[in-house]
């Protein structure tokens, strides 16, 4: 069952290098674990799981190179259902655990699945630090604007005034806008999609995979038990055409029936939604995912206060920056080149020794 470890290089992680994958093409079934899925019937998590399981084989990444990490919550059950490596961690700490994995082993593809409470309440600090470090993680936040697993308390993304078990008279806090938080935290890739977006969801995930570094994806997810219909303004038929603003790089930001509405930037620095006809097509702002300065992406994140108004979906930002684990490996190599590989005797002997005969 086990075999002794034949001294891999210290610098290369633990260096399992055996080639795999490639040969046989994998299917969705290969990524489905034998564990029964335990979400409530009708939960939006099912659709996300299906999308991910379907996407995986297409990526051409061997299963054994994939790790799913999560915290605690309904969303956090995710890793159990994928036949990859997985860690079901503790509440809020998934980004930290995942940072350890991805930094130790830049060869792995590490995904993090978090609920909105997991990611932005108890785990807020780890999330923003993972983003600024640009650790090579795909961070999916299932935003159902509620605490599902603990049976319905409001979350940091719940709208103000929300009546829940812990706020029988209405919540008092302004919710976080997760896209704004991520952009404020120097995230290099920030996107939003939705559980019911059968095509958009995998497209966005694919983009996240293509981005080496931290990719933060907010996924609106319906909790039909404790917060049913929170995304109705986007998921309803009218909402889908009227309120979803699909962002596409280099394209004018338009939406609504026949793209009749669009976004312009005023010289006073304020974005506005206008009738395209009334201002002329050429005034409509072009979306620029690759812009180094995150200000425009931030401004777009403020178009809607919550998913009840016209809401941008898609990639807000996608810029390149050195990846934490890669940069660290680089330092390791540089040190080995400069100082030679580590020798314990030399280390201990240091400079100040003396001898007694």
């Amino acid at each position: 069952m086990t075999q002794s470890n034949e001294g891999p290089s210290f610098l290369e992680g633990v260096g399992i290098t055996e080639a795999t994958g490639g040969v046989t093409t994998l299917t969705r079934k290969d990524f489905t674990s034998d564990q029964e899925v335990r979400w409530c019937p009708g939960c939006g998590d099912y659709a996300i799981l299906a999308a991910v399981q379907s996407l995986m084989p297409d990526l051409g990444i061997p299963r054994e190179k994939i790790v799913f990490v999560s915290g605690i919550g309904c969303a956090a059950r995710f890793p159990y259902y994928l036949d990859t490596y997985g860690v079901h961690g503790i509440h809020g700490r998934a980004p930290a655990i995942a940072t350890g994995i991805a930094t130790a082993r830049p060869d792995l593809h590490v995904w993090v699945v978090m609920g909105d409470g997991d990611a932005l309440s108890i785990g807020g600090n780890h999330l923003i630090h993972a983003l600024r470090r640009n650790v090579n993680l795909k961070l999916l936040m299932f935003n159902n604007q509620i605490y599902g697993l603990t049976k319905g308390q409001y979350s940091p993304t719940s709208e103000k005034g929300k009546i829940t078990k812990s706020t029988p008279f209405g919540s008092l806090e302004t919710p976080f806008n997760p896209i704004s938080v991520a952009l404020g935290a120097e995230a290099t890739f920030v996107a939003r999609t939705m559980d019911v977006e059968r095509k958009h969801l995998p497209k966005v995930l694919r983009r996240a995979v293509a981005h080496r570094g931290s990719a933060f994806v907010e996924i609106y997810q319906n909790c039909n038990i404790f917060n049913d219909g929170a995304f109705m303004a986007l998921s309803s038929k009218e909402g889908a055409t009227g309120n979803r603003i699909y962002l596409e790089h280099g394209k004018p930001i338009r939406f609504g029936p026949d793209g009749a509405r669009g976004v312009v930037m005023h010289p006073d620095g304020q974005l506005e939604i206008v009738d395209v006809a009334s201002v002329g097509e050429d005034k409509i702002l072009l979306h620029d995912e690759y812009r180094d300065n995150p200000s425009l992406a931030f401004a777009l994140s403020r178009l809607a206060d919550g998913p009840t108004q016209p809401t941008p979906m898609g990639v807000f930002r996608d810029v390149d920056r050195p990846v934490y684990g890669d940069a660290m490996e680089h330092q390791l190599h540089a040190a080995a080149e400069r100082q030679g590989p580590g020798e314990i005797e030399r280390l201990l002997h240091g400079s100040d020794t003396w001898t007694v005969d």
Binding site: M1, G86, T99, T355
Partner: protein
Amino acid sequence: MTQAPTKQGERRRQELDRVVIRFAGDSGDGMQLTGERFTSATAFFGNDLATLPDFPAEIRAPAGTIPGVSAFQIHFADYDILTPGDQPSVLVAMNPAALKANLEDLQHGGLLIVNSDAFEKRNLEKAGYEANPLDDGSLSVFQIVQIPMTKLTVEAVKGTGLSKKEAQRSKNMLALGVISWMYGRPLDPTIEWLEKKFAKKPGIAQANVLALRAGHAFGETAELTAYEVKPAVLAPGTYRRVNGNQAVAYGLIAASVQAKLPLFLGSYPITPASDILHELSRHKNFGVRTVQAEDEIAAIGMAIGASFAGHIGITTTSGPGLDLKSESLGLAVALELPLILVDIQRGGPSTGLPTKTEQSDLLHAMYGRHGESPVPIVAAYSASSCFWAAVEAVRLSITYMTPVILLTDGYLATGAEPWRLPTMDKLPQIPVRFATQPNVGDQFWPYLRDDVTLARPWAIPGTPGLEHRIGGLEKADGTGNISYDPENHQLMTEMRAAKVKAIEEDIEPLEWRGDEDARVLVLGWGSTYGSIGAACRRLRARDIKIAQAHLKHLNPFPKNTGQVLRRFDKVIIPEMNTGQLAKLIRAEFLIDAKSITKVKGLPFRAGELEEKIVELAS
């Protein structure tokens, strides 16, 4: 071996077998550095030695005040010694505050060397002196040597072009020069060090060297008494000085080499543990990855992730950080992954006395997690033993697939001692066997245990076919799937406990030393080792029968512990807490162990222990 420099024409040096010197001055006076350099030279010279730095928690407390005093004590001798000494026989006081704060400890008849220039009105006031103690006869029980150190320094470095203020900064080197002359320490290592350290600021280097030489010359021309402490007869070998934090870092690296696995440190700075992070950060050529995490929780989380990925996950901290790591440590217990948590104990509770030593995290290490969550505990007992303790922690952690807590304390962390360097063949083998194949038919069960160690297999990402998921919910025995089955929870709880208990078969038995017919055993753990040893020596010198044993494993205890303890009529346990080991011993063995406790932020003095042992023994 380099010999003490004996100048021609030097008078005969007065022979001593041991000396305890304390350097004390303002935080800005460089006393730690002075002490360090003197220690280096002393080690180089061949004495056995032990040191005790003692500095304020502030970066730099107001100059000239008592809270701003920083001190460094060194004990050196021509025989093997165990502690940094109870009371200094020599006190170097750079200003009135340093004098006031330390005088009480100086032996009657001891040597008091002061920077007389500093005893002017403002400084005297700041220290709370109404009259100048150098003048009012209050110091008459001591041998006082007044040296106008500031003036001498300024004069000595005149040629360097430094301003007067800059020049004065070298007065610690002048003091070091004086003391070096008095105790026959070589100057060369210090000069070499200064030149290296200030390579980019040759003016400063030069000034320091000039001051050092001037001090040496002053000693000679002023005809101060010269002493000689012969080199100690030490076991042959190559020696270096090491403090506990360095030794932990080296031990971890050595273990990584033995295990042929890379180290991954997730840490958040905290006194007195930060230096381990600093030290490990420097050895990237060993493949050591260090992350300064956003907090202690992230730090341990990252280490857990790294262990899952097949590295040796390490996290280092002190008390407050240990608190914060409890939840994640519990996760590591459930995941059954290797992980080494190093806790450098300091004075508590809360922020407490951050730069002072204490042994008060033992019960926290034992029980500081919710649920039944057993973790092996290893404790170092001397600066150099930190090396071995770190290696042992890694060995246990990997062999038994379990987090391990390694306890040291502020005293070990910063105190230095000579260390005979081990040869690599003395290091234990740490075989690592990653799982590479299914273990139940064509399935891989991540919780199928080894019969002997009860360890589960370690299958790391990248291994095809062994994809599996683990987590903090209770796991079914074998498969590791989530299980809420009552019987399974009972079984798994027992299993986790049995795995830790099994370690008792794999560790050194508890040794005791002392008089065969002793009826009293002094049992210790951690950094009290030196003090207890010295106290027992004193007792034996008084013909009092005594035995001594020291625990290096606190969980589980060595298998023979009960047997050893029951051999004696009385077990006395000195601890720098309010009796934590005593609680464990009493509960486990139902022995009426007696405690000697102290929580003053300082190690036991041998004399103090000696007395209390006598009291309790009778």
